[in-house]
Every structure is written in structure tokens, then in C-alpha cells.
């Protein structure tokens, strides 16, 4: 559930930061997606992340919406710290408006998807775009491979070889933003 302030991050900000800063290693290169039990329209898969000195436990979570939106998301969880993802990338979905507390000029408050999310020191979730994402956003929308490797760069995940996302029902490939109203009958 979305909360205005994530108290856990606020109270443990240094630890939260170090989870992002440390170089994490992906334990396997095959990410197998399965049906999400809590959400009919989505498939998810997890792979463990190894931290240097094994001082944290973490996982990479890949989710794919097979419903109307056909978007995908990459998240880094640290279950010991909190149930919410620490860092994430969304390929599509609502544009984020960074809150008044961020004190930005109006023009800079909007961050359209695809975008990254992280928390600030007050436990407030903020969205941002990397330079690569800002300059060529559509090339990331359908290309999960490109998006994933960019996510790994941004979140310091190291991996040997190339990562494969395995899903039975939906071949992932290059495509545009999906039409959420396809096939919907309005009276």
C-alpha cells in the first residue's frame, strides 16, 4: 500500500542508502515468471541478490502486467528492512509528480514513465529519469533487455552473462505504449 511517508526508510536511511550503493550480484541469469497469486493480470519472478560480505539479504523482482497495460517493472527488495521495494523501475504507468516538499519549479515536477523510483531521506518516494532515459525513452518501453541492463547499471547489480526473462504466455519484444482500452466495449 502506498503511504505518504515510509517511516522505515526515514528511520534507517543510511542502511537504505547502502543497500543501493553496494554492488550486488545476481545469483542466476534466468528469471522465470509465474502467475502472481494476488493479481490476476500480472506475472512475477524473483532472483536472489548477493551482497558483499553477505551483510544483507535482497532480491530482484521482475513483474510483467499481462493485462491491459503490458508494462513491466524491476524492483529491488530487501525483506529484512521492509516489505516495500527499495528501488524500482517502471516502464509505463502514471506519470509521477514529485511532491511540494521537493521544492522544484513546476516544470520539473513531472516525471513521466518510464522512470526510476527511490526514497529521499524523509522517506518520501520520488521519481527520476536518468539521462539515458530522458533522451530516448521510447526505446526502453518495449525493450526489457535494454531496460534491465540500464536498471542494473543504475542500481549497481552485477551479473555474469546475459539475463533472460522466461515467460510462457507472452513473448516480450519491441513495442509501443499499449492501448489500455483495446477490446473494451463502451455502451
Amino acid at each position: 500500500m502506498h503511504k505518504e511517508i515510509n517511516q522505515t526508510v526515514k528511520d534507517n536511511y543510511l542502511r537504505y542508502q547502502s543497500i543501493g550503493d553496494k554492488v550486488k550480484t545476481l545469483k542466476s541469469t534466468d528469471i522465470v515468471l509465474h502467475q502472481n497469486q494476488n493479481h490476476a493480470g500480472s506475472q512475477v519472478g524473483d532472483i536472489a541478490l548477493t551482497f558483499p560480505d553477505d551483510d544483507e539479504c535482497g532480491r530482484l523482482n521482475v513483474s510483467l502486467n499481462v493485462d491491459k497495460t503490458k508494462s513491466f517493472a524491476f524492483k529491488i527488495f530487501c525483506d529484512d528492512l521492509m516489505p516495500e521495494p527499495c528501488y524500482r523501475f517502471d516502464s509505463d504507468g502514471p506519470s509521477h509528480t514529485n511532491p511540494p516538499a521537493a521544492n522544484l519549479v513546476l516544470r520539473d515536477r513531472r516525471v513521466h514513465a518510464p522512470h526510476f523510483h527511490k526514497y529521499d531521506q524523509d522517506g518520501r518516494e520520488t521519481a527520476y529519469k536518468t539521462d539515458e532515459l530522458a533522451s530516448d525513452e521510447t526505446s526502453f518501453v518495449g525493450n526489457y533487455q535494454k531496460a534491465l541492463s540500464h536498471f542494473f547499471d543504475e542500481e549497481r547489480v552485477s551479473v555474469e552473462g546475459s539475463v533472460q526473462i522466461l515467460t510462457e504466455t507472452l513473448p516480450l519484444g519491441d513495442r509501443d505504449f499499449e492501448d489500455p482500452l483495446k477490446g473494451v466495449e463502451f455502451k
Binding site: 491491459k68 502514471p94 513531472r110 518516494e125 509501443d176 489500455p180 482500452l181 463502451f186
Partner: protein, 289 residues
């Protein structure tokens, strides 16, 4: 700083241009997503999706409100406080639910292109009102009651265990949690079997100020009336707090706890209602006397 009144036109132009810059579109094949300048309390920009069916334009939320409900774990029409029906009437929107996915869409249909802006305006504001009704109820609602319940449970479990551990042939303790005790807001009690000695425990969860205040009010009530409800008992009443206070507990809101905790935990509480305050870790001391 530019004088406000000397440059009204310029400022007006600049502000409008800033607001305009909030608009954006996304091409979604047969649908256009208009990203409006409006934003929900969840910090999501409000988008309106426009598509065409036969000779009419459909202006809808694209299923975004359904997503808000999912994300916040609620049914949009499942709670009076969301004002679901009222908002649908107020903004004159229609609802369609997809049989297979149960995904719900809120929309308006217009055939005259001139009415498109009005429909976008309405659907955007409907989404804003509906999403915010949900967020006000969920996002800002204190989660902490659960935390205080969790803490009380933890204390009670520990006390049950202690009661068992410390009971011997000579002295027998009994853990009690009956209606009388709960009526005067105590979490639990321990009776020394065969005597009228009764220890009552009140948990105070200090995870946030609302919680704290609530716990303290409960304690106030309990400590004040316990004697009347349990006239025959030789009472000893304690407060168990979840976090050891560091310096000073000065609860102005309740005007109740004024305890210098520096010399914790030796000092007895001088307040009219508290016998003592103990941390969870020092629950052992309860049985020392």
C-alpha cells in the same frame, strides 16, 4: 525581485506557460493518453484516455482508478467514505466492468468534438476526487493501531511465559485476562494464587503520537477506576512501555505523565494514577516484590 504589479501581463504569461508545460500526451495506438496537470494525493499525474468507438469519442480513466483500488487494497465501491455513488453522479460519468478481468472503466462519451475538453475536464476531476477519497482514507490513516496491538500481544505472551516460569510449589501465579480487567482497559493481569494480590499491566505504545495519546487516555481511565471495579484486590498497577524513554516524558496532551526518566527504572512514578512504569525488558522486577 520584480515588482508584482508592474509586470502582471508577463507573470500571467509565464504562469500559464508553466501550467501548460504540465500537459503531455502518449500515443497508445488507437488511444491517446492526455496527461493532465492535475495530480492525486498519491503523487500520480491524472491521465485521461481518449479513444474512438463508431462515431463517438470515449473519454475514460483507462482503468487507472481500478489500479488505485488494487494498490491500496480496497474496493472503490466498498466503503461509504469513498463516496463512490455520489461522485459518479456529481461528474455524470458512466461505469463499465470487463467481464473477464473485472477491470472497471469510468468514462464519458461525446459525439461533438467541441465537447471533448469538457469531458476531459470532468473525467480528470472525477478521477482526482475518487482517488483522493481513497487515499485520504488509506494513505494517511495511521497504521499504528496494529503496532500497538502487536506490542500488547508481545507483552502478554511474555507475561504468560513468566507466570509459568516463576510459579513454584510455594508461590503460584496465574495469568488473567478477563472481562473485568479488559473493561477497565488493562491489557492483562497476574494474580498470586491464594492471596488477593493482583498486578495489572497497561501497555503504552509510543510508536507515534496518536497511539501514545490513545494509550495514555486508556491508562488514565484504567488506573482511576480499577479500585472501584476490583474493590477486594490488593492492587499493584504498572505501565509497560514499548521503547525505553531517553530523557523526559512530558505528555502535555494528556497532562498525565510527567516523569523524569533519567534515573530509570528505579524511580517510582509520583503521578496520582501510575504506580510504576517499566520497560519490557524489566518485567522480571514485577515478581521480585
Amino acid at each position: 525581485m520584480i515588482d508584482l504589479m508592474s509586470n502582471v501581463e508577463g507573470l500571467y504569461a509565464e504562469i500559464r506557460s508553466d501550467f501548460d508545460s504540465m500537459w503531455s500526451i502518449k500515443d497508445r495506438n488507437a488511444t491517446v493518453e492526455f496527461i493532465t496537470p492535475y495530480t492525486t494525493l498519491g503523487d500520480d499525474a491524472i491521465s485521461v484516455f481518449v479513444t474512438q468507438r463508431d462515431d463517438e469519442y470515449v473519454v475514460s480513466d483507462g482503468g487507472r482508478l481500478y489500479d488505485v483500488g488494487k494498490e491500496q487494497g480496497v474496493e472503490l465501491d466498498g466503503h461509504k467514505g469513498f463516496h463512490y455513488g455520489e461522485l459518479i453522479t456529481k461528474f455524470s460519468v458512466k461505469v463499465v466492468e470487463q467481464a473477464q478481468t473485472k477491470r472497471r472503466f469510468f468514462y464519458k462519451m461525446v459525439s461533438d468534438m467541441k465537447m471533448l475538453s469538457a469531458a476531459i475536464y470532468d473525467v480528470a476531476h472525477f478521477q482526482e476526487a475518487m482517488a483522493n477519497a481513497v487515499y485520504l482514507d488509506t494513505m494517511f490513516a495511521p497504521e499504528e493501531p496494529r503496532e500497538s496491538v502487536y506490542f500488547r500481544r508481545k507483552v502478554n505472551e511474555a507475561l504468560k511465559q513468566k507466570t509459568r516460569d516463576l510459579s513454584s510449589e510455594k508461590k503460584k501465579y496465574e495469568y488473567i485476562r478477563d472481562d473485568k480487567i479488559r473493561f477497565c482497559r488493562f491489557s492483562s493481569g497476574i494474580r498470586e494464587v491464594g492471596t488477593n494480590k493482583l498486578w495489572l499491566g497497561m501497555t503504552i505504545c509510543r510508536s507515534n503520537i496518536n497511539n501514545y495519546r490513545h494509550s495514555v487516555y486508556q491508562a488514565e481511565f484504567g488506573f482511576r477506576y480499577a479500585n472501584q471495579f476490583l474493590p477486594d484486590a490488593d492492587l499493584r498497577m504498572s505501565t509497560v512501555v514499548d521503547k525505553l524513554p531517553t530523557a523526559l516524558v512530558n505528555n502535555r496532551e494528556a497532562g498525565l505523565l510527567q516523569v523524569v526518566m533519567n534515573d530509570w527504572p528505579k524511580r517510582r512514578i509520583k503521578s496520582h494514577s501510575f504506580d510504576e512504569i517499566i520497560g519490557m525488558a524489566s518485567m522480571d522486577t514485577l515478581f521480585a516484590a
